[in-house]
């Protein structure tokens, strides 16, 4: 991964900031002047991964564009918890239309700016996995196919959490949701939108998680260096739907990457150009056990065959993306 790892052995560059580093080498989130695009008072659950991921990503975009940007938001948790009329937590130009049309609205905003000759103002579309993977998918694919000048960010919490944890096309196998009662989501269903985006051969596709701020900020900054359609897929654990402790949001995201279940990579024009290697590999058990949505796998007796299938998926990711040296 081309993220520069400064050799600071006290905290490494894995921490947000470091008193020993010059300010320009710290994360955007370390700055007292960060955008705080999503400010206090929003109604996200305690420990919400999406609120965290969205502030990190949009702040990084604000930093990369000097604040000259417009955010287009799909319906979903992010919109509902941040903007119950007449209040809003957004401190950035922000527009919301419908659940399924955020990529199309973003395309329209970009087109309007182009028509007005304001191409220095950049457009970021964003939504949850429901609005991206399922409901807004046709608009998203169209936006990619036309190579519209939009960075679209999907905050993936792997189900429709806002309406009561119904399954989405991003729900992983064996996860229990309100609409996939035991034994949970079937294997072999759903879609991998980062790979679908790559198949459009758009300029830039990347994945990230809330477990690695430096990497996420790098990818937003990198995405803003391109013109045309770009896609960033951020894994954001949901304490409500995943049935995890509020304080474990970052930990569980870290375990998703360290187990190999969520590969972190970037691709340009359909080809993988960088992969974040696994640093401390763990079995998928470590990741699954923290989450109530997988509790049915660890009963008496445990469903070792199902766990083995999930492990096989992780192993496949490790092979496919070269996650381990």
């Amino acid at each position: 991964m081309p993220v520069e790892r400064t050799k600071f052995y006290q905290v490494g560059s894995f921490a947000v900031g470091n008193r020993l580093l010059p300010p320009e080498q710290r994360a955007v989130q370390a700055s007292p002047d960060r955008g705080n695009s999503l400010t206090c008072g929003h109604r996200a659950c305690r420990g919400c991964g999406e609120a965290l991921g969205a502030r990190w990503a949009v702040d990084a975009a604000i930093s990369a564009t000097a604040g000259r940007m417009v955010v287009v938001n799909a319906t979903g948790c992010l919109e509902v918890f941040s903007t119950p009329y007449p209040e809003s937590s957004w401190q950035v130009s922000w527009i919301h239309s419908l659940f399924g049309n955020a990529p199309a609205v973003a395309t329209g905003v970009a087109a309007a700016l182009r028509a007005k000759g304001r191409t220095e103002v950049r457009v970021v579309g964003q939504g949850g996995d429901g609005g991206t993977v399922d409901i807004g998918f046709a608009c998203l694919s169209g936006m990619f196919e036309r190579d519209d000048d939009v960075l679209y960010i999907c905050y993936d919490n792997q189900a429709y959490m806002n309406t009561g944890v119904q399954r989405s096309g991003a729900t992983p196998p064996a996860a229990r949701t309100a609409t996939t009662p035991l034994p949970g989501q079937a294997f072999g269903q759903g879609k991998n939108v980062p790979l679908i985006a790559m198949a459009h051969e758009i300029p830039y596709v990347a994945t990230a998680t809330v477990a690695d701020l430096r990497d996420l900020e790098y990818k937003v900054r990198r995405a803003m260096e391109f013109r045309g359609a770009r896609y960033l897929h951020v894994l954001v654990p949901c304490p409500l739907g995943w049935v995890t402790a509020a304080c474990d949001t970052i930990r569980v995201a870290r375990l998703a990457t360290e187990s190999g279940l969520f590969p972190v990579f970037e691709a340009e024009r359909g080809e993988v150009t960088g992969v974040t290697k696994i640093r401390r590999r763990v079995p998928v058990d470590d990741y699954l056990r923290l989450q109530g949505r997988y509790a049915h796998l660890f009963g008496d007796p445990p469903k070792t065959d199902v766990i083995a299938r999930i492990q096989a998926g992780a192993d496949r990711n490790v092979r496919r993306f070269g996650l381990v040296d």
């Binding site: 905290v11 894995f14 470091n18 008193r19 206090c40 008072g41 970052i250």
Partner: protein, 540 residues
């Protein structure tokens, strides 16, 4: 009706009107914990604090922080047995931080640049007699001087330093280093009265308001060994002292050292350097029961010192000794086996422990002696009011660092006593255990190894064996510190709060929780690398 647009009934506003702090059942609270290195330091150094200053890098400030507690950083960096490194949490991650190496670097920097410690306290008008110019006495003299008292140090030795000079060989502690650090204390206005033993304390204390006794333990313990007339039997303490004060003692080509402590190792390594072709340590138990420190045993082994485990000396005749093999019984005590072996020995050096010469206490009322050492209270005071004691003559571990710690502690209590107050130590913070850390945020970095003198020079000269770190490696080493239990401003809490409810107060000022908006999710606590935040239940 107001002037809102058609179909709009509410004015827009920020979500900051929504005080989500009301959701909270627990709140994060910043705290400082006691790092294991600080807890382990017998001299009470704030190791983590001075490492953090060294990281900046502010070497002089770091050195001054050490000097708050210990006047001998350069000596410590050579002779301390490093309890801090044994306790270091980083040892569970990769390898312990080389605290001692950094301390030595800072101590050497101070000598190189001539840094000194000013005495800023108002003169108290009180006079304190310190008996013994070893690490305990000198440490007490240093701290008492800084507290404004007038100090006289008396010692029977011709030069100050005690066991640091007359017990620790110069290949471990070069004398220019020793002289530089003691000279700094003398320059602060401490009076030295050397070459004259204090034999009657009551007499010597005339004109002084208090006394601190730290005469050390300089008498080698003897063991009865049936020996012929021409057997040469010496004791290790005298050998090491003679080497320093007069001339190299003649030990011969085959030297046997009897004992298993650090002094035995020093005697054997010294014998090697004095030309012995063969230096053998005879010890009656096994390695795991040996009191000598690992580093001393391994360095002795590297230099060719052999060790006869489970052996006692049965008798010595002429140039030969007979040793008897032992075995450990169920209680771990060595028992004779009746198997014997002969060893060539031009001399036998006894290193069986040392005792304190307590004759100066004669007639002093209230002083209690138990098992050869002086009893002191928690304030280091003996049974005689105004007479305090420390170092090897009181019951504790006998190391330089422990002695330095005694000196500091005693100085603080003497100060309190002289001012008619009682010293009350500050309450200790809870210890920062490894489990409290989130080690994900620390990158992997193994310890820096200090250069060692090449073997040929080690066994023929008294040159210093271990080298120091240079600035680059010392800085690298300091920055390996995990800052266990104390905020080092990594901004993690500020960055990971989904509710934007951590306020960054600026460099050196740390952070504050905005309780109007903190929902109490605990992410800041979970992701704090140092374990410097805890969750506390809200009181309803």
């Amino acid at each position: 009706m107001d002037d809102k647009p058609f179909a709009i009934t509410l004015g827009v506003g920020t979500s900051r009107a929504n005080k989500t702090g009301a959701w909270r059942t627990e709140r994060p609270v910043y705290l400082d914990r006691l790092p294991p290195c600080n807890q382990a330091c017998p001299a009470g150094e704030n190791v983590q604090r001075w490492l953090s200053l060294a990281e900046e890098p502010s070497y002089e400030a770091a050195w001054r922080q050490i000097m708050e507690d210990n006047p001998f950083p350069a000596i410590m960096g050579r002779v301390c047995y490093r309890p801090c490194e044994t306790a270091c949490n980083r040892g569970k991650l990769d390898q312990a931080v080389g605290v001692n190496s950094v301390e030595r670097f800072l101590g050497d920097e101070a000598i190189k640049h001539g840094w000194t410690v000013p005495v800023t306290a108002e003169p108290s008008g009180k006079r304190v007699l310190v008996v013994g110019a070893g690490p305990a006495g000198l440490s007490a003299a240093y701290h008492l001087t800084r507290l404004g008292h007038q100090v006289t140090v008396a010692d029977s030795g011709s030069r100050p330093g005690g066991m640091m000079r007359f017990g620790i060989p110069r290949y471990r502690l070069p004398r220019d280093i020793l002289d530089a650090e003691i000279g700094r204390i003398a320059d602060m206005g401490v009076t030295f009265r050397l070459g004259r033993a204090v034999t009657d304390l009551a007499e010597a204390m005339r004109g002084f308001d208090a006394a601190f006794l730290a005469v050390g333990a300089h008498l080698g313990k003897r063991a009865y060994i049936p020996a012929g007339d021409c057997a040469r039997i010496l004791d290790a303490v005298s050998v090491l002292r003679d080497l320093e004060e007069t001339s190299a003692p003649a030990l011969g080509r085959h030297v046997v050292v009897y004992g298993g402590g650090n002094t035995a190792m020093d005697a054997a390594r010294t014998a090697k350097r004095l030309g012995a072709s063969d230096a053998v340590v005879v010890y009656r138990r096994t390695r795991d029961r040996m009191p000598a420190h690992d580093s001393e045993v391994s360095e002795a082994g590297e230099e060719g010192v052999r060790i006869k485990w489970l052996s006692t000396i049965a008798h010595a005749v002429g140039g030969t000794i007979t040793i008897e093999k032992m075995r450990l019984d169920e209680t771990g005590f060595p028992q004779p086996t009746g198997e014997f072996e002969e060893l060539a020995a031009d001399s036998v050096v006894l290193a069986l422990g040392q005792e304190a010469d307590l004759s100066l206490l004669g007639g002093l009322p209230g002083v209690e002696v138990d098992d050869g050492v002086v009893k002191v209270g928690p304030n280091m005071m003996t049974g005689c009011p105004g007479v305090f004691a420390g170092g090897d003559m009181v019951p504790d571990q006998r190391t330089v660092t422990v002695a330095v710690g005694h000196g500091k502690k005693a100085a603080r209590h003497i100060d309190a006593w002289l001012r008619g107050a009682t010293g009350r130590p500050a309450p200790k913070h809870p210890v920062a255990d490894f489990d409290l850390l989130n080690t994900w945020y620390y990158s992997d970095a193994p310890a820096t190894v200090r250069p060692r003198l090449e073997m040929a020079r080690r066994i023929t000269t008294f040159d210093e064996v271990e080298g120091g770190l240079d600035e680059r490696t010392a800085l690298f080493e300091a920055r390996r510190c995990l800052s266990c239990g104390n905020c080092f401003e990594c901004d993690n809490c500020y960055g990971v709060c989904p509710d934007n409810a951590v306020v960054k107060l600026g460099p050196g000022l740390r952070y504050e929780i905005d309780l109007d908006f903190c929902k109490g999710c605990g992410l800041c606590v979970a992701e704090c690398p140092a374990g410097a935040i805890e969750m506390v239940p809200e009181i309803s």
